[in-house]
C-alpha cells in the first residue's frame, strides 16, 4: 500500500518538504505524491531521484500530477540532514559489497565539469579530448547520476557545441545535467542553452556534497 502525500495547491518548496517528511517517516514504502503544478512535479521528481528513489510513473489528471515511486528500502536515513558523527556506515560495511551497492556518505557519482577542455598543454587537444570523453561516457554501461557544469564547462551545453548531441542522449537516459546559470550569464550564453537545466550554487553544491564520488574535470 502506497503512502499518499497530498501536496495539491501548495507552493514550492512545500511539496518537496512534505515528500521529504513522508520519506523519513515511511522508509521503504512506496509513495504517491500529488501536486498541482508542473514546477512542483519537477521539483519533487528531482528530489526523489536525487535521494535514490526511483519514480515509477507520473500520471496527469486534469492539471494534477500523481507521482508514484517504486519500493524504496532504507531511504529514511538518507534524506535526513547530515550531522557530524551521524555517519550511518561503518568500516565493516565494506563486507556487504556483494549486496546492493552502498554509498558511504552519499549517493552516486557526479561529474563536475569546470572547464571546456581536459588538462593543459594544448587547448585544441584538450577540447577534442573532452568532447571524446563525453561521447564515450554515453556508451558505457555505467553512467553518472548527475553532471554539473560551471565556468567555461557550460560551453559544452550550448547550441552549436560539438558535445550537445551527446549530452542530449545522456539526458534522455536520465542523467541529470545541472548548468550554472551565473556562468551562462557571464559568457552571454543564457539564451543559447541547448541541454540541461539552468541551476544555481545551492543545487550544485548540494549535489556535490551529497554524492559518494565527484570526478572533477
Amino acid at each position: 500500500m502506497a503512502i499518499t502525500v497530498d501536496a495539491r495547491g501548495l507552493d514550492c518548496p512545500k511539496p518537496v518538504i512534505k515528500t521529504k517528511e513522508a520519506l523519513e517517516q515511511a522508509a521503504g514504502q512506496p509513495l504517491l505524491v500529488m501536486v498541482s503544478s508542473a514546477a512542483s512535479k519537477e521539483n519533487v521528481i528531482r528530489f526523489l531521484t536525487r535521494n535514490g528513489v526511483a519514480v515509477e510513473r507520473v500520471e496527469e489528471r486534469g492539471g494534477e500530477f500523481h507521482i508514484y515511486t517504486a519500493g524504496c528500502e532504507g531511504l529514511g536515513q538518507d534524506v535526513q540532514p547530515l550531522s557530524p558523527g551521524a555517519e550511518p556506515q561503518s568500516a565493516d560495511c565494506s563486507c556487504n559489497s556483494s549486496q546492493a551497492p552502498s554509498w558511504p556518505s552519499g549517493r552516486g557519482t557526479v561529474l563536475f565539469i569546470t572547464r571546456d577542455r581536459i588538462g593543459s598543454g594544448s587547448d585544441e587537444l584538450g577540447m577534442s579530448l573532452l568532447a571524446a570523453f563525453i561521447a564515450t561516457i554515453r556508451e558505457l554501461s555505467a553512467q553518472p547520476r548527475t553532471i554539473c557544469f560551471m565556468n567555461s564547462g557550460v560551453k559544452l551545453t550550448v547550441k552549436g557545441a560539438p558535445t550537445l548531441s551527446y549530452l542530449k542522449e545522456l539526458e534522455e537516459k536520465g542523467v541529470e545535467l545541472l548548468v550554472c546559470g551565473t556562468c551562462l550569464n557571464y559568457f552571454h550564453l543564457t539564451q543559447e542553452l541547448g541541454v540541461g537545466k539552468v541551476s544555481n550554487m545551492y543545487d550544485i553544491s548540494e549535489t556535490l556534497l551529497k554524492s559518494a564520488k565527484v570526478i572533477t574535470i
Partner: protein
Amino acid sequence: MAVYAIITFHTTHFALKAKKVLEKTDQEIEMIPVPREFSSNCGFCCKLPWSEREKAERVLLDSQVEIDQIYRWERDDEAEKKKKFRFI
C-alpha cells in the same frame, strides 16, 4: 542501421588537422575515440556517413593529411541508445 566511415590516422596531429580541414567543408563529421573493434590504441578518428568518405578522402589528401585506414562501421544507433546501463 547506419553506415559510417571511420577514418584513422597515424598521429593525433593528423587527426586534429583532419577535423579542422573537414569542418571547413561543412562535412558532417564527428571526432571520436577509435572504436574498440578497430583498434585498441588510444587515438582519435573521424566518423562520417559512409557515402561521404570519398569526398573526405580527397579533401584530406589535398591538405596533406595522411590517412591510416578507412573502415566501414555498421551501427544500429537506436539500439545503442537503448542499451542497458546503470547509474554509478
